[in-house]
Symmetry: C2
Subunit: 690 residues, 2 copies
């Protein structure tokens, strides 16, 4: 083979020009290319392997981009990319990574949308078709949505299906049924899909027809000739139709090839898989084919998601019987968050994978909590966006004790559809939602224990620590206040029990409501939220080692849902500068609330009446220096300057994390420099209090 | 009748104790009560009238609260309230309004959740059932979700249906099929519901069965005996079942009774309505039974939603042919937003009601825009929350020129499920989304014209002006800069063309990107976003008339997606105080961004190097006074104080708007006082520049 046919394919026209007898060879080459690519580079191979023949048939029959193909989630568009001029990104190791893992209009006119969440292709296609029917475009051709069976369970896909028939006109929805979502498919409708497969599409109960759609079935979904015939028969159709094709996910992969660490996933994939295509190479496995990164896997330790996720599951696993009605809920992608097949099997009825259904999962969790159970809802920050309304209405407004584990919050090197950079702005601005941000393993588990062990609180979102924290925990005594290292001023005893800047007791409703001063200094206070806390420690050390040394106060804020005014008021007396850091979007995020707090809360000294508090402040600013110095100090006491560090409001696409940190100034040298400059501008680098 | 039976009902036990022959009389009394209540007080009468018999039967058969009934949307829970000890809230005019329009656990142990958005009842019920099956509650009884056919089209409802069968165990989903959503039902599945009705539930295509559910049909859904029998047959069932009941919305209402202004709505309701219950009183009409407030209707003018919505529709209506592929999209509730039946009928294919499907609507809009069309997506702020992910991913990330009309943003007297107080924090923090905030009719239409008339921009959300603006436009020369009234310093010519504080031209990509200084003053600049702009004008006048007068600068910021640093830098030189006002949640909102801007951007004077800018600042602070005064002034120039006014982060439930404004300090006297105090604290009330 050796890419003999694929090498000649520079666009859809070349697929059309092939002799029909060469199509299977092309498919074979593509499949082999995908496997080699996946082995060397990683990627969403499984769904693409299932779709080789269908994609070749699509470009054989339809005329892209005049005919418009919308790929749902779009991580199954690799074959499409190969056939539309981007094959080298998959055949040439030097070009690996030169195209995105999702469809992208900037790469090619054959790509219509960037989509990385699930279920929206039908609605997007409805829109393309509507504009066509109004004559807004070039008088365009067929509109095709290609959606996998796993994505079908997501809310918006149903809305799309329900609207498609109503809209009318040419619209072809290809349902790629490989009997497999990321983990197993979940939901009653999959029984119907199975019945449709078994009856070769003739089962009278038909979910697609019940939505008013016309319907065709192609059992041999990995037979390119059968697909060409089926697609040809609906080309130019004058009404919406579903073409249900039965494919094999991971077709061509030998068992166990891709992910030797994750043996349990095999059970997911093998269960219930009919071997109707048994003569073909062995089918791949489900989770094993998702989010593979073979390079990072080569002997390197787990990332933070799996690490802290596993810790949480271990904690909960030991309490299955003692925590009332404990239910871990994962709206798909459990494996990415350390919810291993072993855990799931052990948890039994205490674990529910709801499928790709974040909205249901959130409301479901609220229901469990309302009835006395203890739900723990876990998924990544980017997917929680899909349940924003349910988090606000069904969960927060109803004040149900739901525990939410937010994975992969914050900026990262990921693509633009999976960024968690908006998580703080999203969760932190929902009324009634307690948002916790542990900065180490121990704090994380303490918070999880509180959230799941008590009920006198509403919803609690815990931002699972990220790689910065995991790296710190693995590579050095961290955090300093726990390990006793580092500070010359605040030993572990002082700081563990809360310094003089931490007057709140822990007996309030949320024991993490008050910021914890982990190191007492003066002049500048550094508040490092969540994953930026290790950086805050580094900055503190660097300031201390610089000349003249600056002894910064360090604060573990622990939560981002409520400003701790008591601690801020105490900090005001001893600090001219307060620095906030967060690894999420600054606008709408957390740090700006600190800035606004100081701006809007004048201390009593700023009013005209003499008060007892004025005496305190007068004492605080007393000391050597001229009258001017004191005047300036009084001004400082009124309103400390606040500097906020965080991410810009933007979409970032696979930008390496260090580059993002550089861009946003979230680096030790930059923040040290900014602190020195700000203190200088405020009137000298000397500490204002001893 | 005269409430003879109803008077004896103080709880479900009393319904059970009745002689079966008295049930129809009870239903009759309830229906009459609802009609009287609706006529005098308003409310969601239509759906409640349909549910009279079903609710009576529910409480006859099941044992609430041991058996748990979850009302979807819950505005159809009036009858339930009457039967659970809250009848006087409907029978006694003095008690009208003493219970909420939604189910509410604070009112009664028979109410499980506060829900006001649609489609979540199935998922909530799944959660209650799951906790029951884990033994987390009292060993509870049946779990029942009651959902209307209109709500069934919302995304999360499908997710719930898909998960219910998978979960197993006792779960009873009652589908109240009154063939009617708020406007007409939209979607292919309604064809299936019709087929099920026509076949008395025997049609082989059955959407509920395709989700794996067991299924029963009750054609006589307003026959209490039939319902008692049907509910009895599923009581204690060991698996999930759908009971599909056919009811008549608004049963008992004469035609045209409720909403004489909205004649066109009749067409919505009458179309396709079978008269199978023709012997009963006339069926009500759809939109006419939604959001009725007869008191406010009595001769008073339209509210802002309908007013500005109608204006927008008039504008678009005249351009149906000239704007390419114009499509107005309303995910239900069109009437509330001035999208009248007349408009819809005139618009034809240029109008799409997608049903209660915000997610589909947003993705659909993006598809239309991508293909060259011009979508205008309109609904209320609270419902846009449901499409948060699609707004971010399919719309903003894909930078498609979608125009979004956000109605009912900001704080209001509404219930806690429909508040728009979070709209600024939600839209304003989405990367790539342009968020416009017109402060008068003319600006609104200008913005709509730009958003729909040009394509070289991404998504544009326009916050439709609210009642404060409408009142100002109706009652006085407003805005001052347009009418030429008010300011002694800035006449209409000066301000219309942009004052000296508005150096940006309008030829940038968004002509509304720069803040517009509408009145040039000094010392304090008042930035009134959106609906707070009329208040800003009042404050400006009050300051001017006070002694000594303060001549404030007034700014129409026009957008809340991007800080206009040029204008803020210019304001810095002439103002010691900047005041921001917004009628939405302050945390995560807009004003705090202004505060953060100044905090994080030191002017050149704050560095050590002598610069040309320092000379400017030195000149600015030159003048009479002591050295101390000048020092203080220099400090002021470095960082003007910013005060932010906006709503707290909280859920509010039917709190009168004036009370909320008082609570949040969003009143003229409070802000005038705050400005005077802040200026005094900053060192005297004299203007710092002439």
């Amino acid at each position: 083979m050796a890419n003999g046919v694929l090498r000649g394919i520079n666009g859809p026209a070349d697929v059309k020009a092939l002799d029909a007898r060469d199509l299977p060879a092309l498919c074979g080459e593509i499949r082999q290319t995908l496997i080699t690519y996946g082995t060397l580079h990683g990627g969403h191979i499984g769904s693409n392997l299932a779709l080789v023949e269908a994609t070749v048939a699509l470009h054989r029959v339809f005329d892209s981009p005049h005919d418009r193909i919308v790929f749902d989630v779009s991580h199954q568009s690799y074959v499409h990319k190969m056939l539309t001029g981007r094959a080298r990104a998959f055949t040439d190791p030097e070009m690996f990574g030169s195209v995105t893992g999702f469809s992208n209009p900037r790469e090619s006119p054959h790509d219509w949308f960037v989509t990385g969440h699930t279920g929206t292709s039908i609605s997007l296609a409805c829109g393309l078709a509507k504009a066509r029917d109004l004559g807004a475009d070039d008088g365009g051709g067929n509109v095709i949505a290609l959606i996998g069976d796993g994505a079908l369970s997501s809310a918006v896909a149903f809305e799309g299906l329900n609207n498609a028939a109503e809209q009318g006109g040419n619209l072809i929805i290809i349902v790629n049924d490989n009997e497999m979502s990321i983990a197993a498919n979940v939901g009653g409708m999959y029984g119907n899909l199975a019945a449709l497969r078994q009856s070769e599409g003739r089962c009278p109960t038909n979910i697609f027809r019940s939505f008013g759609m016309d319907y065709r079935y192609v059992g041999r979904g990995n037979d390119v000739d059968a697909l060409v015939e089926a697609f040809s028969s609906v080309k130019g159709i004058d009404h919406p139709v579903v073409v249900h094709i039965h494919t094999v996910k991971g077709l061509g992969l030998p068992h166990g090839r891709m992910d030797p660490d994750d043996g349990g996933a095999r059970a997911d994939a093998d269960a219930g898989r009919p071997r109707s295509l048994g003569q073909l190479p062995e089918a791949g496995r489900c989770e094993a084919n998702h989010w593979i990164d073979p390079v990072s896997k080569a002997g390197s330790p787990q990332g933070s998601r799996k690490h802290y996720g596993s810790l949480a599951m271990d904690y909960l696993s030991a309490r299955m019987e003692s925590i009332p009605g404990l239910v871990v809920i994962s709206p798909a992608t459990p494996g990415s968050n350390g919810i291993t097949p072993e855990f799931r099997s052990r948890a039994g009825v205490h674990y529910v994978d709801t499928g790709i259904t974040e909205e249901h999962a959130a409301a479901f969790a609220s229901g469990i909590a309302k009835a006395g159970g203890t739900p723990v809802l876990a998924t990544s920050a980017t997917f929680f966006q899909r349940a924003f309304d349910q988090l606000q209405q069904e969960v927060a407004l109803n004040a149900t004790p739901v525990t939410i584990l937010v994975f992969a919050g914050g900026i990262s090197s990921t693509d633009n559809t999976h960024s968690g950079a908006g998580d703080i702005a999203m969760f932190g601005n929902i009324a009634g939602m307690t948002c916790l941000a542990p900065i180490c393993e121990r704090e994380f588990i303490d918070m999880l224990a509180w959230a799941t062990g008590t009920r006198d609180h509403g919803a609690v979102a815990i931002r699972v620590p990220g790689d910065a924290i995991l790296t710190a925990e693995r590579s050095r005594p961290y955090p300093l206040f726990a390990s006793g290292g580092g500070s010359s001023q605040g030993g572990p005893e002082t700081t563990r029990s809360g310094s003089r800047f931490d007057p709140r007791s822990c007996d309030e409703r949320c024991p993490f409501a008050s910021y914890r001063v982990t190191r007492s200094g003066s002049d500048v206070a550094i508040l490092g939220l969540s994953d930026t806390y290790p950086l805050a420690e580094n900055i503190m050390r660097a300031l201390e080692e610089s000349d003249p040394p600056i002894h910064a106060t360090l604060v573990d804020v622990r939560q981002f849902s409520q400003v701790d005014d008591t601690t801020l008021e105490t900090l005001r007396l001893h600090h001219r500068l307060v620095v906030t850091m967060e690894n999420g979007q600054r606008e709408g995020g957390w740090g700006e609330k600190i800035t606004a707090y100081y701006a809007n809360h004048l201390p009593p000294a700023a009013t005209d009446e003499p008060t007892a508090e004025k005496a305190v402040i007068a004492a605080a600013i007393a000391g050597p220096g001229t009258e001017d110095d004191r005047l300036r100090k009084a001004h400082d006491v009124q309103c400390p300057r606040v500097l906020n560090f965080g991410a810009a409001k933007e979409f970032t696409d696979r930008v390496p994390l260090p580059e993002l940190e550089e861009r946003y100034g979230l680096t030790c040298p930059n923040i040290v420099r900014s602190i020195r400059q700000a203190l200088a501008a405020l009137g000298g680098a000397d500490p204002k209090t001893a």
